[in-house]
């Protein structure tokens, strides 16, 4: 461990200039804050968090739609625990549950299928959020429901994919990133090759990283070495889980059920081709279609800086709402709502820097 840190310090000295590395994965954000590793980095190396928390980038209009659904008689909304506290425009699933709505927390999309089988007189809507890691598990649930001819199950789909979002970030003139720490578990599915375009088109080095503090520090060291040697390549620090081409079975299942579509990212706006929609073939499992859901544009607090936080331009400490009134117990912006959001991580773990 000490050698790892000494090595990073040595290379950071060699490079000399200020560097900004971005991770785009909420679990990396959490690992970095919870382990306190950011304090071990040299002054000229900054680790910033991009739009890697699926809850944070989910449009409030989507949550409003989910809330509207859970109020309908006969509907059960099944969701990962992550979404329960996230505020929509006026309410949250947690509040709706307190008012008597049917909101069930599940650990797996397969649990939602079980729920649908157990409650044949109700319609179970699963809230499909998450990136490439999670999308295949939801694709599996839809595929399985189709095979079994299940009639009372559907998915409100807001799945997103990483490459177009990373592309949009590096094209943004205001954002200057010297290296990407690429999301390890997304890469398990997609393979490390997915990031090659970033190195080739933009000459930004990429390292796919695991989730132990040691992995992240090692990845920072690998990025520094690439910069010191003038390289921009995709390197794979997380080879114990990530291969070049990823999990083919999961990719095929995702492709079978989902198709790319333009999607709105909270804080970043609409990014072409960055979302996944349910294919026509599986339309009867698309909650938006079978239950006639309409999405409304949601109001966003103009003082909230989450947009520039998600792009690595500002830190949460630059935001006037941070801490008061915006806190994990009373979140205003998207980055505070999820425990993986960067504002929540700052609040929970590094408030003393404020």
């Amino acid at each position: 461990m000490k050698t790892l840190v000494a090595n990073i310090e040595e290379m950071a000295r060699r490079v000399g200039r200020d560097l900004k590395f971005m991770e785009v994965c909420g679990t990396h954000t959490m690992a970095a804050f919870r382990s306190g590793l950011r304090q071990l980095l040299p002054d000229n190396v900054r680790l910033v968090s991009g739009p890697g928390c699926p809850v944070c980038v989910t449009d409030p209009g989507y949550l409003d739609a989910a809330i509207e659904l859970c109020r309908r008689p006969g509907v059960i909304v099944a969701t990962f625990g992550d979404l329960v506290r996230v505020p929509g425009t006026e309410s949250s699933l947690e509040r709706e549950r307190a008012s008597g709505a049917s909101v069930r927390i599940v650990y797996s999309p397969s649990d939602a299928l079980v729920l649908a089988r157990e409650c044949p007189s109700r319609h179970v809507v699963f809230l499909g959020v998450g990136f490439e890691t999670t999308a295949p598990t939801v694709a599996w649930a839809i595929f399985r429901a189709a095979q079994d001819g299940l009639r009372n199950f559907s998915v409100l789909c807001a799945h997103k994919t990483m490459p177009r979002a990373m592309d949009a970030l590096v094209r943004d003139q205001a954002v200057r990133i010297d290296g990407f720490i690429c999301p390890g578990h997304v890469s398990v599915i997609t393979g490390a090759q997915m990031y090659r375009f970033i190195c080739q088109q933009y000459r930004i080095p990429c390292v796919v990283s695991g989730f132990e503090a040691w992995d992240i520090l090692k990845s920072v060291g690998m990025l520094l070495r690439q910069i010191a040697e003038g390289r921009a390549e995709v390197e794979n620090e997380y080879s114990r889980s990530v291969s070049e081409y990823g999990n083919r079975a999961a990719q095929q299942l995702m492709h079978e059920v989902f198709e790319p579509r333009d999607d709105v990212w909270r804080g970043l706006g609409t990014i072409p081709g960055s979302g996944l929609g349910i294919r026509e073939k599986y339309a009867r499992f698309d909650a938006a279609k079978v239950l006639g859901v309409t999405f409304h544009e949601a109001h966003v607090n103009p003082l909230c800086r989450c947009g520039s936080v998600l792009r690595g331009i500002s830190t949460p400490l630059d935001c006037h709402l941070f801490g008061r009134p915006c806190s994990p117990a009373h979140p205003i912006g998207p980055c505070m709502v999820s425990s993986e959001g960067v504002c929540a991580a700052y609040y929970k773990y590094e408030r003393m820097a404020a």
């Binding site: 994965c25 649990d111 598990t137 997304v186 889980s241 999961a250």
Partner: protein, 75 residues
């Protein structure tokens, strides 16, 4: 963004398996990985095994944890 943990397959059923995370047992779906075997280490996300580890991968993680995690595990 995506929490996934290494776990060992302790029982195999049709398309599901019972996995152990440090002794915590849960059933997960294994249809996304090829030929799961008893004793395999897999990466589990949202109730699905999404990747199978080789023994060398398991050894690597253990080495990392031994080097950085000084917590004693009590029994």
């Amino acid at each position: 963004m995506c929490l996934a943990v290494p776990a060992r397959i302790v029982e195999l059923h049709d398309s599901t398996a019972t996995i152990s995370v440090d002794g915590i047992l849960r059933d997960v779906d294994v249809s996304l990985i090829e030929q799961p075997r008893l004793g395999d280490y897999v990466l589990v996300h949202a109730g699905f095994a999404i990747h199978r580890w080789d023994q060398s991968d398991v050894d690597e993680l253990q080495a990392i944890r031994a080097a950085t995690d000084l917590r004693e595990t009590v029994t």
